[in-house]
Symmetry: C2
Subunit: 337 residues, 2 copies
């Protein structure tokens, strides 16, 4: 099998962890059949590096660590347009203000050139799934995105391979780690600001946490799931959205005094008018399957017509979990290569 030549766009936490796993691949017996070569790395603000013969993972990491970036200045879009590669690994940061751009342009360009795409960026799946998946089919390549929702836990692969014959009637889940961690800390008495600062210190919350607290990140993930698993064609702006920024520790204490917990819940279901989605703040009784969700782990309940209700949950995910989502897609491409 020929090596898959990767163009790695983005070198944030997930990109670095992905390259670390490649550098340390001998520790993982199951990766013996993963044949990849990184022929280019591009970033938004830390330069780029191109070598058609392949850049050694350890060298990429060492260069970034010692120089704080890479020696070239090529943009991702230019690299996608001009370099020779087999797979675009799109790990640039999500832009909600940009409605998924510029990642959508990167993915569109790669697919148009007949190259596979593995995206860890949710934007292209949430804002342009139907266009991009149609384009991929037309070009005979694949658009994979397991790392976009629930880190690398298999949600898209589950539906593709494990739910044959089922119609998915409803999706429900806790999909945003930051808001779930913040709600847990507020139950323990912290103010919203202190809880956010704590999640930031742990590397979970972003410098600007508003996308998490206002339910935008959850809405983007729910849209991605709904477009792929329920064949919808909606955009995150169509999700009814309620955030947690207005909550106080007193609100959570009152809920707890009633034996309930406040959670940010994503839901999508079929109606006569099409598929509806919402991100809402709900009080759950303690025997609800989501009531015990703690910390960074997401949980999803899938309602089907044949199998009934299936729950899939992460238990203590970390950066490796997300990086695994990328690896899992590359292994799927290797099988077909």
């Amino acid at each position: 099998m020929a090596k898959l030549r990767l163009l790695l766009a983005g070198f944030g936490n997930v990109g670095r962890r992905f390259v670390e796993i490649l550098a340390d691949r001998k520790s993982y017996p199951g990766l013996s059949e993963l044949e990849v070569a990184i022929v280019a790395v591009t970033t938004g603000q830390h330069g780029a590096w191109v070598n058609p013969a392949g850049l050694a993972p350890a060298t990429i990491l060492e260069t970034y660590r010692t120089r704080g970036g890479f020696p070239d200045s090529r943009t991702t879009l230019d690299a996608v347009r001009t370099l020779d590669f087999d797979v675009l690994v799109e790990l640039s940061p999500l832009s909600i203000a940009g409605r998924g751009e510029p990642a959508i342009a990167h993915v569109r360009e790669a697919l148009s050139r007949g190259r596979h795409v593995v995206s860890g960026n949710k934007g292209p799946v949430a804002w342009a799934y139907r266009e991009l998946s149609t384009l991929a089919r037309a070009r005979g390549v694949r658009f994979l995105h397991e790392a976009t929702v629930m880190d690398g836990a298999p949600v898209f692969n589950l539906q593709r391979h494990c739910l044959r014959g089922n119609t998915i009637l409803r999706l429900e889940g806790i999909l945003n780690s930051t808001s779930n961690m913040v709600l847990g800390a507020m139950e323990r008495g912290l103010s919203l600001a202190a809880a956010v600062a704590k999640a930031q210190a742990m590397g979970i919350a972003e410098a600007d946490p508003s996308a998490d607290l206002e339910g935008w990140d959850a809405a983007v993930k729910l849209t991605a799931l709904t477009n792929v698993l329920m064949d919808a064609d909606i955009k995150p702006e169509q999700i009814w959205r309620q955030g947690i920024a207005q909550l106080t520790p007193q609100d959570l204490a009152v809920a707890q005094s009633r034996g309930r917990r406040i959670k940010m819940i994503c839901e999508a279901f079929r109606t006569d008018a099409g598929i509806q989605g919402s991100v809402t703040v709900q009080e759950l009784p303690l025997d609800h399957p989501f009531a015990r969700a703690e910390g960074a782990g997401s949980v999803l309940r899938i309602h089907t017509d044949l199998l009934g209700r299936l729950i899939i949950a992460e238990d203590g995910p970390d950066l490796s979990t997300t990086a695994y989502g990328v690896i899992s897609d590359l292994l799927a491409l290797s099988e077909c290569n």
Copy 2:
């Protein structure tokens, strides 16, 4: 695509529900591509029925309902040896005393004749997986068994398609519905005998509940999972086994007074001496992911080297969930046909 001709061995609860779904298949849009014909039904004590042109599902159900059985007297083994069919659907009852026989003989005979097998009977997977899977590969056919553990929830398919590249380090779960329901009822003050009677009245517990209460059913399921997901080659007798028959409502009340719940837990993990498995009665703190498991729903936590820990759980399964496991395997065969 040619129709898959099924030999249905066994017509208990799951077999009947499977045929009911086939009779009602127009209600399930996802089944439009399932092309099957039942060319024979065999049972242990209720006769058999053979028609090479195919038996209509509704007619099978009506005949069984009105006559209490089928008109012929052919045994399953004879049918497997002599009839022409594409897939043996093995749904005969598990025999723990028989160490998986006679189902193993049925499966071996079908595979030897180059026929696919879809088993809902755990015995062949628990006592003879390595032999039977090797035989299937040698004959170019498939031995599928999604309905054997966690009803039809995708555990074997999950590992086959969704955990690429991972090494499974450990499995933990609650896999026996009856004992979990009995423990729940005993927490509410019922005696063991009353709790068992209640589970029997609900159609969950068998007339002889000892295999459930003594941990045998759980050990058989854990063995099946371990043999397939961890490439072990163990038998249920090698699982260290502890039952719940000695527990009293007082034991459960004492645990609850400590903020804990008593559960029957299956575990399998790698050691230098090979893979070890156990079924034990444990007190779990309420924040343990299994502590809230109620009723008939099973739950499994899979520890991997790359993805981390993944939890998959059924939420309120019923007979359709198990029957779906059979259908899911048939759909997988249809794709390859």
